[in-house]
């Protein structure tokens, strides 16, 4: 099998890359190792409304629910509310990823990409030192696919980068260990995504409730890997459920690892571009990665088409991708990383003080930057190290 571009991984990043490259005229093959795209889910499914609508024409069945904003709880129970249009992060829609991921893969296929499911990349092929394709296993049979360019969109467990010489292994402090239940509970707030802070709830992480309509919600938590021990995420989630949603009925279980390393040194090398979780393009503070992956996917797909037509698949020929993703999403990721590095060190008293100082203010009209300035005004000592990020 021969093509211009192989995309490894059929998540949102891979599908958008395959779609963009196909639309630009490339012959694209997208590999997905699972037999079903989108399942099992490893995600809390929250995304910002505005950005998603900019990226793709939405199908109603992709969206489980729409929320008005986010409510944050300090460890002492004090809460603040941020409206959807101001909170900026992964607030707005709660997706139905099983349907959404499949829908995006369908868009890639409709654009002309060949989608191979139950097909797992085993390694990179090389000819005269240059990358010349991927060796794969397709439904248990070996398959070689030739292409001068590879996009690795293979998620938190990415191998493409490592095969090509980019070390994407995550240190424990740079990954959150997460567990989530899909819960039915009459007490679920269907209008707000909720975030619960506290070192007893989720050490150096947070717990969440993302409503999916009909009194269902993704209720989960993530803890920093360096503070995790075997089975800790699920154990803490059971504890949180008991305390906060004692009558909740669990109808599904989801676990996963979420990169929060900040921008990687390089997401490109000769013949390879990395996209999404594979390139650690998740927001280190919120853990949200869907929209970043989709945006990076589009950029990588477009740059792939240019590189192929210019005949330069070297790292230099792919530099436009590197520049564009850093400009578009990398800066925010770097900033969030600095906030995360600060946040993971906070004790419960600090968090109570911070959220408590906001609870007294009218923040409903404030955007995130405005809120941070207020926080700084009330808590200059605590936030001094973040001064340059806030003012």
């Amino acid at each position: 099998m021969k093509c211009d571009l192989i995309v490894v991984g059929g998540g949102p990043g891979g599908s958008m890359a395959a779609k963009a490259a196909s639309e630009a005229g490339l012959k694209v093959v997208m590999l997905e190792k699972r037999q079903e795209i989108g399942d099992p889910v490893r995600c809390a499914e929250g995304v910002s409304k505005r950005t998603l609508n900019r990226l793709v024409k939405l199908e109603p069945e992709w969206i489980a629910s729409e929320v008005k904003g986010a409510r944050l709880y300090a460890p002492d129970g004090t809460s603040i509310v941020m409206s959807e249009d101001k909170s900026g992060g992964e607030v707005g829609y709660v997706l139905e990823r099983k349907v959404f991921d499949r829908g995006l893969a369908m868009l890639a296929a409709q654009a002309g990409a060949t989608v191979l499911v139950k097909t797992r990349a085993l390694g990179l092929l090389r000819k005269n030192g240059a990358i010349s394709g991927v060796s794969a296993m397709r439904i248990g049979e070996p398959l070689e696919i030739e292409a001068p360019l590879i996009i690795g969109a293979d998620g938190v467990e990415s191998k493409v980068g490592r095969w090509a010489g980019i070390d994407t292994a995550l240190k424990l402090q740079d990954i959150e260990s997460c567990a989530q239940f899909l819960v039915h509970d009459a007490s679920i707030d269907e209008e707000y995504t909720e975030f619960f802070l506290g070192n007893n709830i989720a050490p150096s992480g947070y717990a969440w409730s993302f409503p999916k309509g009909e009194k269902l919600a993704n209720i989960g938590l993530g803890i920093q890997g360096s503070r995790s021990k075997p089975g800790e995420a699920v154990r803490l989630l059971h504890k949180f459920m008991k305390a906060r949603f004692p009558n909740g009925r669990v109808v599904e279980m989801v676990v996963g690892g979420d990169p929060c390393s900040g921008p990687i040194e390089s997401a490109t090398t000769d013949g390879v571009m990395l996209v999404g979780d594979a390139a650690h393009q998740t927001d280190p503070l919120t853990g949200g990665g869907i929209l970043n992956a989709m945006q990076a996917g589009v950029m990588a797909g477009e740059v792939a088409a240019k590189a192929i037509s210019a005949g330069d698949m070297s790292r230099r020929g792919l530099v436009e991708y590197e520049t564009r993703w850093r400009e578009k999403i990398g800066k925010t990721i770097a900033r969030s990383f600095q906030f995360k590095e600060f946040f993971v060190k906070l004790n419960d008293n600090d968090m109570n003080q911070l959220l408590g100082s906001l609870a007294k203010e009218d923040i409903s009209k404030m955007d995130l930057a405005g809120m941070l300035r207020v926080l700084f005004r009330f808590n200059p000592k605590l936030l001094w190290s973040l001064k340059s990020l806030i003012i």
């Binding site: 190792k33 699972r34 037999q35 292994a169 990954i175 075997p230 989801v254 690892g257």
Partner: protein, 56 residues
Amino acid sequence: MLTVNRYKCCYCGACVGVCPTCALELVETWLEVSAECKECGLCTKICPVGALEVNA
């Protein structure tokens, strides 16, 4: 030796992401451990369900 409790494993791949030697591979629902494994135990710590264990 690294052992996988396949009744516990939810095949999320977090372990694969932290493995420094690329010794783990997730094949749909099946986690494979290769000879590259140095039994460092990082994967056991990150596992949300506690499916991994290094035994002496």
